[in-house]
Amino acid sequence: MRRELFVILSLWMAGPAWGTAPQCADPQNPSVPLCPTTGILSEQYPVAAVTVSDIGGEARFATEYLTAVFRAQGDPLPQAYLMVKDENFEEIKRRLRANAPSPEVADRWIRNLHRPPGVRRYNWQQDYFEAFHDPATGRPQLRRIAQYPSRVMPEENFDNLVRALNQNCGETAGPPISHSGPAVNGISGGNLEAASDFCIVGRDAFASDDYFREYARSVCGSLDNLIEAPTQFLAAGHTDEIYKTIPIPGRQPPCNFAIAIASTRKAFELLDAQPTAPAFSRQPEDMERSGTYRSLCRAYEDLGPQRRNRGNGGPSEGQSLWRLIAPDLAVANMVDHERCAAGMTSRNLADIVRGDPNLGPLNREIQQRMDEFVATFKARVARRYPGCEPPVIESPQLFWGGGEFSSAQAKSIFPNPTNGEYVNGQYLMPDPVNNLFGDAFRSQLSGLGIGQTVINTDFAHRLTGNLHCSTHAIRYCRPRGRTGR
């Protein structure tokens, strides 16, 4: 009897939910959209849980992300799984309490925070698994990316995460996603997106078309659902670098989304329209530690004082002593990032990108490929859902990389707005560090009735990722064949 009592007491103490049972998402609620025919769930579905870590963005990023998620979807409030160190967990709770509109709401937010045991702190939450759904229940079903490097994310971390989710709200693990070809960046979760019944997978550097199709089949079920995204030119090779499904509030699925797509054309239009506007709205954090910004600033130095100041009406700059003594060494070692961020104009940026024999042609070709992708996407959507014409949101972006599309290893110069997260009418987006780009993107969202929360993601951008890459929203849907409660 004493032993039985001990077991019950132990379970009660270990169980995260007993006594304060988490309010889990209810897939049977009639307001929840019906599940798609593919397993992967797009941003058109509500959020059951989110994951985030502190290893890159510390408590500041995790708190801003969680605050935005909780504010956007208060009912049902998503569960939040935090892979953070002790002091940051306390700091996050303190900051959330300060951000919440009332002490009662703060209590609810904090009650939904969980720290799954045996899951290491890791920034790229988007990449080592992908969230699907169980068609029988509509609940989230997580699928591990089988070939994701185990040295950075050992398999048991995924198992432990699912265990924690399962104990709280019944989420399960599905079959791992895999293919028989070599591992490439494109196998990661950030490369796998969805829109209604379509599944979007970037072509990246898969070793062959056959390998790509095999992988896409593992993700999408049938290749009839696949839309191939042109991600070959990217260093990270992920669809979320260039594309985002953004639902339009007030419309009904399946035709309730816009296509947000990287646009170098839009970027040049904006730069050309306001040539003296600053290229940087602020100096990015740790700018000197970002290889892309360093390359950009060296190219800015290369313009020379006359071209840097062309049409700016400012005083001409003198040559630095270093440049006169040893011009090459000056370029290598004496880049002044503060001056670069403060002084570079739209015209300078456009001159640098257009005038470079790699960057100019590459950015033109990227636009062509994005146009082709959007045309194909729209045609597929119109064929499956007659009369459906998703609007296009142009995300102004410029890319830095080698000059040939299929092997450019390119990176977005500024944080890319497509690499964000949609939660219940609100788009959580990176600060693009360029006012023209940010304002143009935001005004298109506002025009569709979508709110925005801008979050500083400089730390992630420096590491070739962004907001979406650093988090994971796990969604749910209403199972088909049921009428609801």
Partner: protein
């Protein structure tokens, strides 16, 4: 005895030169072989061989970008020409990109890519003697 000693010296110095003093990546495209070499003190060299012709360019390493935490492309090294190539060839030098890049990725397995020519992309190259410490990385 002298022959043995000479062989030992050649082997010893030859091996240590390859082992510790340079990171090298080679691309073979048709009969053109390109070798990008990084030595100590941010110095580098590019050697292009085609049949009997060889051009060598002295380089300076202007940037080492360390993104190992990023899993995908982990380390990128950028170099610029330090002076005219030898033998001088203006047409050839114009073809080179302003910043030659070596990208070492360790997603799945270690692979390296080299970007040499303007308007051409990265090419996979055979990496030898990779050393984080030589690149100034911890």
């Amino acid at each position: 005895m002298r022959k043995w000693a000479l062989s030992f010296l050649v082997l010893f110095f030859g091996a240590s030169a390859v082992a510790s003093n340079a990171v090298e990546c080679r691309v073979q495209e048709g009969d053109v072989s390109s070798i990008f070499k990084i030595m100590k003190d941010r110095k580098g060299e590019l050697r292009i061989q085609s049949g009997e012709t060889e051009i060598r360019c002295r380089l300076e390493i202007v940037d080492v970008d360390d993104r190992r935490e990023g899993v995908s492309p982990a380390v990128e090294v950028k170099a610029r020409r330090f002076s005219a190539c030898h033998p001088g060839d203006a047409a050839f030098e114009k073809k080179l990109t302003r910043e030659i890049s070596l990208l070492v990725s360790d997603f799945g397995e270690k692979r390296a890519y080299l970007h040499l020519f303007a308007g051409k992309g990265f090419r996979e190259c055979q990496l030898k003697g990779y050393s984080a410490s030589l690149l100034g990385l911890k």
